[in-house]
Symmetry: D3
């Protein structure tokens, strides 16, 4: 259930029973052969699936993230880090204002991590707000699965090549992972990464992808329980 399919009266009714919400943070940036919106599509798909099972509402996605290193790849649209953190603050304050109290941020893009700092700054000011953050690709879940199948999880490789993020044929085989020290600017990044894939196998079996999706979904369902016994003052 997405906010876009509701009107405000529906949300008001929802808030009488429930105070949880999922917020999707994406990015519009090069993903090699995959969709430029890959980083939005994956957490959105997970949020939709979790919503189907739990009825927790999903807010409209933030379609852009912080991707300054990819600005030489056409189609990449990067927010300054200052813009992103302001944006995320606005989302949280808006929904807190009329009663949402438990927010699960479904992040799809590593460049958005600075939003975590602003989220804590805001949480220090809003009593009763509980925040959770899910970055699927950094989860133990994905790490374990990658190990199980001996696949290396990297940007724009098999790991992000879901049926719903593919927009063209993927190359067969594997790409050697370039290795760089340094903090690359956009020109250097393109020089270093060529097609934009950070190395490893370009695609995995559909069964692996589905297993991974299901496993991540379990993570999301767990986080949506917002269990924090250790944080209760005795």
């Amino acid at each position: 259930m997405r906010i876009e399919d509701l009107n405000w009266m529906d949300v008001e009714a929802y808030l009488k029973q429930e105070d949880r919400l999922m917020l999707v943070l994406g990015a519009c940036e090069q993903h090699g052969y995959l969709s430029l919106l890959t980083d939005m599509k994956i957490p959105q798909a997970l949020a939709d699936a979790a919503s189907t099972q739990t009825g927790v509402l999903v807010a409209p996605a933030v379609n852009f993230g912080v991707s300054p290193y990819f600005l030489t790849y056409p189609g990449t649209i990067s927010l300054r880090v200052s813009t992103l953190v302001d944006l995320v603050e606005d989302l949280v304050r808006s929904v807190y204002g009329y009663g949402f109290r438990r927010l699960l941020i479904m992040n799809g893009h590593g460049g958005n991590n600075p939003a975590r700092a602003r989220l804590v700054e805001v949480a220090n000011q809003l009593p009763g707000l509980q925040l959770a953050w899910y970055a699927w690709w950094e989860s133990h879940t994905v790490e374990a699965l990658a190990q199980k199948y001996q696949l290396k999880p990297t940007h724009a490789s098999w790991m992000e090549a879901f049926a719903f993020t593919r927009v063209s044929e993927l190359p067969p085989g594997e790409k050697p992972a370039p290795s760089f020290t340094g903090l690359l600017n956009a020109d250097e990044t393109r020089l270093a990464y060529g097609d934009g894939v950070f190395g490893g196998t370009y695609q995995a079996d559909e069964a692996v992808m589905q297993e991974m999706f299901q496993a991540c979904l379990e993570d999301v369902l767990y986080l949506l329980r917002f269990e924090r016994p250790a944080l209760q003052p005795e």
Copy 2:
């Protein structure tokens, strides 16, 4: 054709032939009985239709706008005006960087008008950039059609009640338009507008809606020609 359906190589290829792009600015705010994303859905639909006819690419939508007056209506998510203008600047600078030169901003929400000022500030710095702005509901086209059918165009009324923005039954009949002087805060706005509709008929014939959509589409197609003979130095 939307950026989300492409990878970066597709956009690079596109830019060899073309330098136009449509950017959709929406809002996530109460629209009475209609979808909270109405202000994104309408310009998005127009942009998609125009893209079908012209092949001009459509960037991912900005799903949020400036709606501080509606923050007492659950589901409304408002960006501060400072956030919106920064966001719009980032979009424009990103796409200008790799070669887009003619941008049509498809705005769906009056609260986003402050972005126009920042756009001009940015345009003063980026040689060769041409900007157009379309706010369908303020167009002469819609004004003429409203007059023709004796319908009053207001927020969340018939005018925005397209098949694709409806998420519930609409009330029959007409709502008297409340009339207020003053700049209302969010509490006052809810007191003043109740169900959130700014008055007038709740719905119009589907034929009228389609006629309006087509007429607006003509506007968009015209703007996409970026004809500006008067601006050529002789």
Copy 3:
């Protein structure tokens, strides 16, 4: 009665009887043959006249507005939109701090409209604050008068050519209104508008000007009553 003619003790005494204030937002920008401060002078004159009749105090004018499109016309001084909204917030918070509660913003320049968004954001935080906004040239009053005399109201034309905004001879006759689609940058604007007038008759009869001024003054006097019965919770 202007703040500049008082000391702080006078204002303190005033606040024991009264909580209304008029704030003038102007601009310093090209107005064709008229004064570069036309957009300040007109709302200032209206505010002074309204003050004479009601005793409501007038704050010092903001002499600058958002005019990035006119920066190629010498004498134009433009605030970034971010600066203007911060400035307006500061004015409102300052006067709210020691007791003003009903503020009428007398705006003289369309480019200042983004301040409305910030004003609502601030009003959401300041209990008891009531805001009104008057943009004389967009009023029904001026529309009706323009229709009555078959004059087209445009930037820097007859409509702004009061005795007190004239600084040179005005051309006779009429200027064809250039028509542009697009969001013009400062270079394009000068190319498009030449002398800076947006078309129509350059000047109207003094009697028409006085009639318009009086009619606008009535608007201001009405707004100063801050009547908002519909906003009272029953």
Copy 4:
């Protein structure tokens, strides 16, 4: 000659002969028994007088400054320091854009000193820009005169009590200067300063005031020559 008395064509003509401009920075803050706009009125008067003798143009005044310590004195309107520096940057960039190169900032308020830092930051980016800054009350000129007449120059005392800043009777005699260590907030400031005068004689002879005005005017005329032989690379 003030910009408000000109249209843009006049300024364009002026710029063909001249690249100097005076910018007046004021404040709207308590000045004891004197006008709340005292800090604007004094540099404005000096600028006007200097303009009469030299023909150098005067931009519209900034009527507000940074006065957070006086916010408990009604009528004080304080810009945040961040707003002021942005504002001053906007003024300078605007006028630099169409050709002003030598700017004399006529400051009337000590709280505006942070603008100096931003001015240098901006000057580091704008080739050919020359800036001068005049704070009349901190000048050697005023120091010498105060010494000559054995008057102590302090905020809102005789020193600012010109005929054109008086809005009420001034008390006779002298006020003992309160002496405080610390950085006072607005509540503490009012507690400390009572009527708002920082001590010393409330008024001086009109002849002294005129002598001081003339002497300051000489300073302004000197600064307007923008003599900087030592800065010429050999």
Copy 5:
């Protein structure tokens, strides 16, 4: 060699031979039983050691980082994320201005990671600038060593307990690592972490600490070579 031990002429002389510089980013935040400046002291010590071997200059440390989650632990001083990124930008632009071209950022605190985004944004604008980033505790080096000695590397545990960061006795033994989902605010963090250590052994053998320091120093020396063959266009 630190900038604090030089005057500007020394730096000017240095720049004739060399364009490398180390910038230390620290934090002032709770580290359990260790110094509140632990996150500055460690990268500073590494930088000093690397400087001794290479002669590369070290800039004064940034003593504060982004630590909003620890603001309930007295002594923690947290910069807003927006402040930190501005600060880091200022450092980089300052030193780039007079000729530094290869900068190694020695970061001591995970909360400072958002600076990476701003660094790339800035690097996109400054031709010839090369940036490297070293976060010692996240290095493969430390990971390998922790594995070798079966120690778990966590905040304020043995890993940061160098002789030079200790300011009190350390507890013996081990702390069970609390495990939390969620993004904790400052109150929750204190509830969750008690003494502030994130779990694991409180201290390791001095020999282990020295081995780790040496290994990290090798990393720094490697990074200071700024080898980036793969980034050379062929």
Copy 6:
């Protein structure tokens, strides 16, 4: 006693007895033949000495200040004025949060004065906060001593040439003070000041320096008493 030598538990214990703190604001900027960190070293030394006598804690120094005019002197690192004021606000809010109430800002650099405005803005929002500010070189104490020894106190001259700020030989004799009107940008400043000293004697007797240090220390000890009887409401 510096925060860097404590852990958070120490600070918590301290706060049970005491609510005073010293905050050191420095600068990293050219000081002629002296250390680039002179402006940090002097107030740091005073703070350390005062701490020894009173036990009042000293926070880690801010090593950078606002020095745009010196950016052509290598080694100078300048914060934008906006960055500095944000930074200072963050420091104050952090320590206020867990109980510090009386803060003595030990400023070492005139360019940091804009922080005073932000400090007052913040103090207007934080009940019970008391702020003091010490700029040693502007004190009556230093003025008196300079007069006594007939030395002219200027930037980077004898006045700042303590044993602990010297990093090289100082020239003998005296430098004629260049005299400039205007607000110099970084290029002009270097042209004007050459070696960076603002004129006067390069060095004074060690005995004079120690006398001055002791006298300033007395000032600090006095300020640490935070005596403000006149501010008590009767």
